[in-house]
Amino acid sequence: MMLTLARRESFWGFAFIAPWILGALVFTLLPMGASFVISLTNFDPRYPDAVQSVGFANYQRMFSDPLVLQSLAVTVKFAALMLPLTLGVSLGLAMLVNNPKLLGRNVFRTLFYMPTQIPIVATTLIWQGVLNLHTGWVNYVLGAFGIAGPDWLNSTVWVYPGLSLISVWGTGTMMLIALAGLQSIPTELYEAARIDGAGKWAQFRNVTLPMVSPVFFYNLIIALIGTFQYFTQAYVLTNGRGDPDNATLFFNLNLYREGWRYYDMGYAATLAWLLFVIVLALTVILFRTRSRWVFEGAAR
């Protein structure tokens, strides 16, 4: 009797999770294996019957491909600017909407979160205009202070700050996560710091930052992986050309061009594996060094 009950329960359990098992097999696990097989070939979607094995030639090519190196350099340059900026802005906005002296905090919170829900293509179109050399409002404001604004998106130097500004519009989610972190800080800690004579800055430095560090760590991982997935903004700005002078040739854009512009899908699959290894390695490294970033006393 017990046995049959347990068996019946297993049967129902498997029946209910069957869609995911099927989906994971067909859309994730088998393709993962297949993508390694494809990376050993010269697969061209236009001539699927002419596929041939090329051994590890794609991997050899990848390690000496200047475009791959360029795309990694682009991603690193962008991440070095964008990560500190978005993490800082999201914490600043969270502290602002968490301030009890702010009237209408919920309205502010909603307004800061709203741009996150604007489709990325539209966001890119809007900022492409805002950052325009002559007619954009950013340079208009800079001009009002007597600063000649740069040609943001057409300069190999200024394109990274420009793209980072666009990313600031997507910090709504990070802000909410940071806000949850701020709200979980016990007020006694601030009181204790005040009694010890800590000023505003010392309180921020010694209470706020350590206490939100676990949340920040989570934000950092998500954002860092996001920079290696960065694609839409770069594609829309230059119609996939990577202008100016390959300064926006992000890793994914390069992968897309190899696969869907030059139809070299064997090579694109190889690049996908490199991406996988990089993302995995970054995640592992970050988790291994977590103790340096994160104050462990903070309850999570």
């Binding site: 329960e9 869609p19 702010l102 594609y235 119609n239």
Partner: protein, 360 residues
């Protein structure tokens, strides 16, 4: 604290109390003012978008034109239209209509006092700035609508987002129920596998999946964008399962006593209890699908009739990059629906973020 109570306290007179209130209000208004400044700067691009979409192309390229949508001022005098200029005079800058331009001098008329006749002015009229008056240009929206068959794109986007949201809600709910309520061999291992697939970059399965859809003849249709969502999304399963385990089992057992099958329990106990989280997951996924660019780009390349807004607008941007007024009009049109849904459902959104902890 009331005034009467304050009077009874030692050392705090009326003045001290008022001073403290005043300080409190000063702090509140200064922080709120700072908030207003920051939010204005943050949302400035939306202002740029709206203003640019409502301008005509001529105003964009005109130096000295105002930032708000405007048209050159004109003044009708004796049946003729004349352009209005900002003219420096002895009494300060005046806005006069230019009746007869000559090389070194010109004849103006004052629109405020046309009855007092023409005014002779010494100086080069070409050095003067045109006067502008507020005026909206709605033609851009009509142009964009016709150029890219906007209605069609909107319909496609909506259909793809709705169908795939329905698919992921149905399948993810069923799978999350299986993980939250039943014991079966290998359950923990399978759940770990599910979590592992969440952080997997989608590129890794992209090319083989593309090859399979190509072999099936599905490229150039919506099927690759829809079918996978009917096989549960790992992240959504995770969110729903976290919520389902908090629903007391007594409710299931009560239903089972009445002879309900496991499927019946899901329909009449779990789902009604989980409306907030289902709403949140549905909303997140709807926005994700509305936003998706890479997948429609590779599967619908060249099939304009089936493309969603994201791809259509990007193509439009490549063609009309020299016409900011049209580009911004297209941006306005493509954000109206998501922003409206967001404000309409923002309480469900915010609650969903609280329930699920994070979001896609």
């Amino acid at each position: 604290m009331t005034l009467a109570a304050a009077q009874q306290l030692p050392h705090i007179g009326l003045r001290g109390l008022l001073g403290r209130r005043l300080r409190k209000w000063t702090a509140i208004s200064s922080v709120t003012f700072l908030g207003l400044v920051v939010v204005s700067a943050y949302l400035m691009p939306l202002g740029y978008m709206a203003a640019t979409a409502l301008k005509d192309a001529a105003q964009m390229s005109e130096t000295g034109a105002p930032l708000y949508p405007a048209k050159p001022s004109t003044f009708t005098w004796q049946g003729q239209d004349y352009a209005v200029y900002n003219v420096p005079t002895a009494d300060g800058v005046r806005q006069w209509a230019l009746v007869d331009p000559r090389r070194e001098d010109a004849t103006f008329v004052d629109p405020a006092h046309p009855e007092s006749g023409t005014i002779e002015w010494q100086g080069r009229w070409r050095t003067l700035e045109q006067a502008w008056q507020f005026g909206l240009e709605l033609e851009n929206f009509v142009t964009v609508w016709n150029q890219i068959n906007f209605g069609r794109l909107l319909l496609n986007t909506f259909a793809i987002a709705m169908i795939s949201t329905l698919g992921t809600l149905l399948s993810s709910t069923v799978v999350a129920y299986g993980f939250s309520r039943f014991r079966f061999p290998g359950k923990n291992g399978l759940f770990l596998l599910l979590l592992a697939t969440i952080i997997l970059p989608f590129q890794i399965t992209l090319i083989p999946t593309f090859a399979v859809f190509l072999a099936l003849g599905w490229t150039g249709t919506w099927l690759p964008l829809l079918v996978p969502h009917f096989f549960a999304n790992a992240y959504n399963v995770f969110l729903l399962r976290q919520y389902f385990v908090t629903i007391p089992r007594e409710l299931d057992e009560a239903a089972m006593m009445d002879g309900a099958s496991p499927f019946r329990v899901l329909i009449s106990v779990i789902v009604p209890q989980s409306i907030p989280v289902l709403t949140a997951v549905g909303l997140f996924h709807f926005f994700f699908a509305w936003n998706d660019f890479f997948q429609p780009l590779i599967y619908l390349q060249g099939n304009i009739d089936l493309q969603p807004l994201s791809v259509g607008i990007a193509v439009f941007n490549a063609l009309y990059s020299q016409k900011p007024t049209l580009i911004q009009a297209a941006a306005v049109m493509s954000i109206v629906v998501p922003v409206a849904i967001f404000f309409f459902a923002q309480r469900a959104f915010m609650r969903g973020i609280v329930i699920t902890g994070v979001e896609k």
